[in-house]
């Protein structure tokens, strides 16, 4: 064979090509051992967190405190940590510290032995011990007695109410506080009273209530927990068809038909908070942080919170945003130090709370916040629980949201909605992910 003046026999050519192929595949498949770095740490966070947490300030502070150390900030691919999980499963190391994983992400990572536990670090750092955290969030990422992550912020489902509009509708008591609605029918009565026809054309111009159906499973489990005080039944089955849910869904459809409830969140997850900022919505049921986030536009103290109605006042569905160290981190010690010194410093989650309402999980963050909402939220967080940690959680979420949307769009009736949901669930793998942890 003659190529560019070289003569090769067929055998040599094939042998050469095969060797190159084997060498490349060997290189790409081999697991590489990395030396721990002392001069650089890669900090990754969910993209939206860069706007709501002082991550860049944390980098500057840390670099100033540790001369010669570089902090590289990275945005995680996508809005969740699922893609990172796939990357880590293939042995790739994308970051040394990850901020933003929720408890489902954490258990998924932990069940595949991809995380370094914090326990030994906590033992030598009293600042990070359990009693310094809101216990609900701390325990959410403790599996089998091992602390796989540390919670930075927590979120729970509740109702945010525009106080001025509530005052106009006569929903505040003499102290200027909102009177908590105890039942769903009372809540929808609030919605009716808060709905206003501003120009007298017979149509509602400012609606009373919106529920964020884009987080449909959170809404579901918050309602169940407030009604039953739990989200799993006596046989550990997921509670999905409870009277309170039926009542809430039926009242929602009725209120939507009258214009008291807006369904914009069926297709736009931000429509409720945007409308509240624009003064078009009086009350929204969504993540609690919106209560404070909208104050950026409406003014300090313009809104307040109300628990999810039900006999178990304050019980809701919550989730945490955690910091974790991947097992294949290239800078384990620096990563831990960065988390301890910056992410659990009062300024970090304190800023996210003051400006955006993200509930700090470390109790030192808000020592001087006197707002009663903060204390209520901490109290409610203690009574809240996370959504079930099941293998097919993504499908369960989609199934719940689809069912809700079909019912609210008048495609099916209430019985069909719940029977369809049960049928969907019967096809899902609802085994607890924590079972995988034992195998790992």
């Amino acid at each position: 064979m003659a190529v560019a003046g070289l003569t090769l026999s067929r055998r040599r050519f094939l042998l050469g090509a095969a060797s190159v192929g084997v060498a490349f595949s060997g290189l790409s498949c081999s697991r590489q051992e990395h030396v721990q770095r002392k001069d650089k740490v890669r900090v990754m966070a969910l993209p939206w967190m860069f706007g709501k947490y002082p991550i860049r300030e944390a980098k500057e502070r840390f670099e100033k405190r540790h001369p010669g150390v570089e902090v590289e900030l990275l945005k995680s691919p996508g809005e969740s940590c699922q893609k990172l999980l796939v990357a880590m499963l293939s042995g790739r190391s994308d970051c040394d510290v990850l901020l933003g994983a929720n408890e489902t992400d954490v258990i998924n990572f932990a069940a595949r032995d991809l995380l370094l536990p914090w326990d030994d670090f906590i033992a030598s750092n009293p600042k990070l011990m359990r009693d310094r955290f809101v216990s609900t969030f701390f325990d959410m990422v403790n599996f089998g007695g091992i602390q796989y992550a540390l919670p930075v912020s927590g979120e729970l489902i509740c109702l945010s109410v525009n106080k001025k509009m509530a005052r106009d509708a006569g929903l505040l008591n003499d102290n200027g506080r909102i009177r908590f609605a105890k039942t769903w029918s009372e809540t929808f009565d609030y919605a009716k009273r808060l709905s206003v026809d501003l120009n007298g054309d017979g149509k509602v111009d400012r609606y009373g209530f919106a529920i964020n159906w884009s987080f449909g499973e959170h809404i579901f489990f918050a309602t169940v927990n407030a009604a039953e005080g739990r989200v799993r039944g006596a046989n550990n089955e997921i509670l999905i068809d409870v009277p309170a849910l039926r009542e809430m869904m039926a009242l929602s459809r009725e209120a939507a038909s009258k214009g008291h409830l807006n369904l914009g969140c069926l297709t736009d997850r931000n429509s409720d908070r945007n409308d509240m900022k624009a003064g078009l919505a009086a009350m929204i049921m969504t993540h609690h942080s919106r209560w404070r986030e909208v104050q950026e536009v409406l003014g300090d103290g313009a809104t307040t919170v109300m628990p999810v109605p039900g006999p178990h006042t304050g019980s809701s569905c919550a989730f945490s945003l955690n910091v974790l160290i991947p097992r294949n981190s290239h800078a384990i010690e620096l990563g831990r130090k960065f988390a301890e010194e910056e992410m659990f410093a009062p300024y970090f989650s304190g800023y996210a709370f003051t400006k955006y309402g993200k509930l700090p999980c470390h109790r030192s963050a808000i020592e001087n916040d006197a707002s009663e909402e903060y204390h209520w939220l901490q109290e409610w967080a203690d009574r809240s629980t996370h959504r079930p940690l099941v293998r097919d959680i993504a499908q369960l979420i989609d199934s719940i949201e689809r069912s809700q949307a079909r019912y609210l769009a008048n495609e099916i009736d209430l019985d069909a909605m719940f029977s369809g949901l049960k049928a969907d669930m019967s096809l899902l793998d609802l085994r607890d992910i924590r079972e995988d942890l034992k195998k790992a």
């Binding site: 064979m1 003659a2 190529v3 067929r10 050519f13 699922q82 999980l85 796939v86 499963l89 998924n108 595949r112 149509k203 214009g259 807006n262 369904l263 914009g264 069926l266 297709t267 736009d268 429509s271 945007n274 409308d275 624009a278 078009l280 293998r391 097919d392 993504a394 499908q395 989609d398 949201e401 689809r402 069912s403 949307a405 079909r406 609210l408 769009a409 495609e411 793998d429 995988d436 195998k439």
Partner: protein
Amino acid sequence: MKSHAASPALQIAPASAKNRRAYWLEQIRGSYAAYFFSMPAIVLMTVFMIYPLLWAFWLSFTNYHLIHEQGTGFVGINNYTAALQDSTFKTGLWNTLVFTLFHVPISIGLALLLAALIQSAGKFGKLCQMLLFIPVLIPEAMSAVVFWLFAERVGLANHLMLEKFGFITHGIEQIFGFEIPQNWLGRPGWAMAAIVLTSYWGIGTNVILFSAGFAGIPKDLYEAAAVDGAGPWSRFKAITFPCLRHTTAVVSILAIIHSLKIFSLPYIMTNGGPGTSTTFLYQWIFQNAFMYFKLGYACAMAFLLALVVLAVAGLQLAVSKKD
């Protein structure tokens, strides 16, 4: 043997089997340089197309899960039968067909009309052609943000209907029995209509193809027809349409394939909702593969969709050949 005789390569190949083998080996040896230079393309195609395709085909017969790998195994045609029984798969297929039905004929008709207008617009036509092509250059994912047009509170559609065309709006309210402002994307039928409407955004490619087709029609045909007293419609029916037959076939195949693979528009505008009213097959496959990580099942659905695309394209080709 008859067919072999028809092949020019075999006509010059030696007749006996032994000699024929030696002949072909010699041919291959003599073409090493050609193989060498085409190797990069062959390697790239093998690594990024053929291997993934074969791997995906194999996966479609397994219960492979990207995260929960334990228990992965061969499941035969279970994924295919499960897909055919999956109500969301069926809904997705139905929605895809409905979209195709509304998107393909209207987009082709509109493109043909615009191309015809451009032909008769002289230099101004070139400018129009360029303007029509600009949306094609914008990623579909970005164009989907026009969903704000249909938003309930801040959407242009509601704003225009309420503020500018109140009298028409009142009529619509009377006839259809619903109030405006309306959450267009929150109602199943309207959400589909909004997606179909938005999909005409990318009509520019078809206009360009038809314009090229128009350019290939001899002018003297029109002149002869005009001398014979043929009107515009007769000229279109007897000259334009037959001459654009092949262009129309190409455009319709492309439009059908594009419709069957519709993904980014509904994903961004409605995320398949409300319920499953705008869930298309591609999105359901995507969800299973990259959100539920059920790669085996997703691959089976992808091959079923590929079958549909192949069948439709084959049918279309057969019809155009017969023509």
